[in-house]
């Protein structure tokens, strides 16, 4: 920054000093702009990108949620779209399914990567290979990974991978995606397998930052594995755990591709319909883009509300 400000400073010094305070202010502002031209130019690019591809669609979506387009005519309808969406019998089913998925994903998708990371951290040999193995599913395109589950693992006949394993163990087989009770657990299993690689790597990085002396001290005090995890590992990784929990919840609430591919959409008796999928259904199958926009705004408000409460709680803790 020192290099960029120098030419501007020289040019400013060579001009006559402005006589009035207003003139001085303008010159000072102009100098600031010139000095930071590069920064502003780069900023304009980023702001334009956000404005065009994020903020404008968001504002447009909010506007659309209060409008209705019929026969090419758009009219303002106030809260009608929201009332209609609230009245949709699938609305509460979709929220129930989405919350159920989020809770299951927290139990499975959040805890499993943490314990896998702890396990990997304990290995002395082949660490690199194991990390690659854990991360490999992340490199698969999500659609391909889900098709693998759909046709190979979740085949409801005895030929399916999971059913073959269950049968070999003498356990009852499952209909997987064809059973309304198993739809959500099956989607969480697939989703966890697909996505845990990234979380494991983040946890591993956090684990490696914990000073070894803390564990040594705990061991000297007679702490076993679980007490070391509880009193050293978890407190030391608390911030990263908190951050990932929030990201996980926000991501899982937007559940979409899993029902679309694994359940061919709504699944058995609407058991896979998520809020994001319901938005898609209204927008693209029910000729109801305005209703879809209203549902999108409701989802935005819920997620923003959750994030705000969460940030407030974690800020207090810190």
């Amino acid at each position: 920054m020192a290099i960029t400000s120098a030419p501007g400073a020289i040019r400013a010094a060579s001009r006559p000093a402005p006589s009035s305070p207003a003139g001085r202010q303008r010159t000072s502002l102009g100098r600031k702009v010139r000095d930071n031209l590069t920064g502003h130019a780069f900023l304009i690019g980023a702001v334009l990108c956000f404005a065009v591809f994020s903020w404008y669609p968001m504002v447009r979506g909010i506007v659309m949620s209060f409008q209705r387009t019929r026969r090419g005519e758009t009219t303002w309808v106030g809260w009608d779209n929201y009332l209609r969406i609230l009245d949709d019998p699938s609305f509460w089913t979709a929220w129930k399914n989405t919350f159920y998925f989020t809770v299951l994903a927290l139990v499975l998708g959040y805890a499993v990567p943490f314990f896998v990371a702890i396990l990997l951290n304990e290995f002395r040999h082949a660490k690199g290979y194991l990390r690659i193995l854990v991360y490999l599913p992340v490199m698969l395109p999500p659609a391909s990974a889900l098709f693998l589950f759909k046709f190979y693992a979740y085949d409801p006949s005895d030929a399916g991978l999971f059913n073959a394993i269950l049968k070999a163990l003498g356990l009852p087989t499952s209909q997987w995606m064809q059973s309304p009770d198993m739809t959500m657990p099956a989607m969480v299993i697939a989703s966890t397998w697909m996505n845990m690689g990234g979380a494991v790597l983040i946890y591993l990085a956090a684990l490696q930052n914990i000073p070894g002396e803390l564990y040594e001290a705990a061991e000297l005090d007679g702490a076993g594995v679980w007490r070391r995890i509880r009193h050293v590992t978890i407190p030391q990784t608390r911030l990263i755990l908190a951050l990932l929990a929030m990201l996980q919840i926000v991501a899982t609430m937007q559940l979409f591709i899993e029902p679309l591919i694994l359940a061919n959409g709504a699944g058995a008796e609407d058991s896979a319909t998520s809020v994001a999928y319901l938005i898609y259904q209204h927008g693209f199958f029910q000729n109801d883009l305005n209703g879809a926009a209203a549902l999108g705004v409701i989802m935005l408000v819920v997620l923003a509300g959750f994030s705000a409460v969460y940030l407030r709680l974690t800020a207090k803790q810190d």
């Binding site: 590069t38 304009i44 090419g72 005519e73 019998p89 409801p156 995606m177 061919n264 693209f284 883009l289």
Partner: protein, 459 residues
Amino acid sequence: MSVPQYRKAAALALVAGLGLSLTACSTKSDDAKNDASGKVTITVDCQPVGAQKELLQNWNDDVAEFERQNTDIAIKSVSVGEQCNNPPDFTARLAGGTVTDVFYGYMTDLQQVLDSGQAMDISEFANAETVPTWDSVDPALKEVFTDGGKLYAVPVKNYSMGLVYNKVLFQQAGLDVNNPPKTWAEVRDAAKKISALGNGIAGYAEYSAGNTGGWHFTSLLYSQGGQMLTADGKKADFNNAMGKQVLQNLKDMRYGDNSMGDRQLLQWGDLLTNAGAGKVGMFIGAPDTTQAIVSQFQGKFEDWAMGPLPGQDGPAKGTLGGGEGYFFKKGLSPEQVKAGLKWVAYQKLTPGKGQFDYARAKPQNYPVGLPQPLLFANGTEAQKQELELRKANANVDTANFAVFEANPVPIKGEPRNAQAIYTVLDAAMSGVLTNPNANIDALLKTAEDKVNQLLAAEG
């Protein structure tokens, strides 16, 4: 260039680039209505994709010949995917205003196209002058694309559903290949025998996802004599004895007889993949599903035959008809509409040309002889010519469709707001096909409430 200048230049280039990109994005891509040579230019979608080499070549040949015959018209072809109307893509194109000047749609799309404000009234242009066979086109099909007395599209395909069955599996199961089941009780009996062949074969297969479940529910309901909506179109009318019978028949086959296979939640491609692999004994479909089984799912024409849609205690009381057409984008000049109509007429509605160029299709092994598309009214000159050409060039055994053709079932159209209603009915279909304890009354009641809500919202 010094480091700061370099950075500034890079930053300014970035901004300029972004600005240009955005300008490019916002610029409407539709070319001038008349090109430099004074030709009327129209864009048309549904050009086959690159992977469909022969079909693409046929299309391009048709364009070249049409332009040779009409030197004042230039056709710009646009491919929108193998399935010309994948509903989500179609909706996005409509909402974004990026449909072509002349664009393909299903009969069920009229309402959506009108709501989007993209449809042009072509009533005053569609006549024997622009479409020479116009007076032969079945008036019932024109009616489907008419709203408030105004015509918005030209029909180019029409079908009705029947029972499609695999002759090889029929023979193996000891069934008469020339006498397909005529009632749902006979279907159930045949399905049991076919599924007893084992090897993962489903005696009867049915859709229950991706809107296709609701689509077939409609046809099954029509076979019972039912209707999806009340006569005024304002309420659902399937939660009754006939609707319950439809679901009960399926539940009996799925869980009573275990004759529908393990894998459910099927949609179009899933079922036809299984059919192409010889794993499906029967399903309901239009004649051209056999074409899809062969061209896309590696099946064989000679394996498939078709009978009329079965009824509950005798012949079916109705079957679902559907089809496709070409809409015209609002704002076209009269010259463009006329040019578009001429093109559609040439490629889709002229015996011996385009889709009716059977002499070209025969050696390419595309099916000739299917009882479809039913575009021309009975007794018209165009129908006579089309049937003669079809017969002369048939490369599929027309006897396989003889029972279907000899036993016509009254055709009923799709309900208002069909795609939205089909989405709702998927849940009822998936319910009886995936849950042995499914409560049919509850499934239909839920679907009825949802459809009524949809219709109320439509106003």
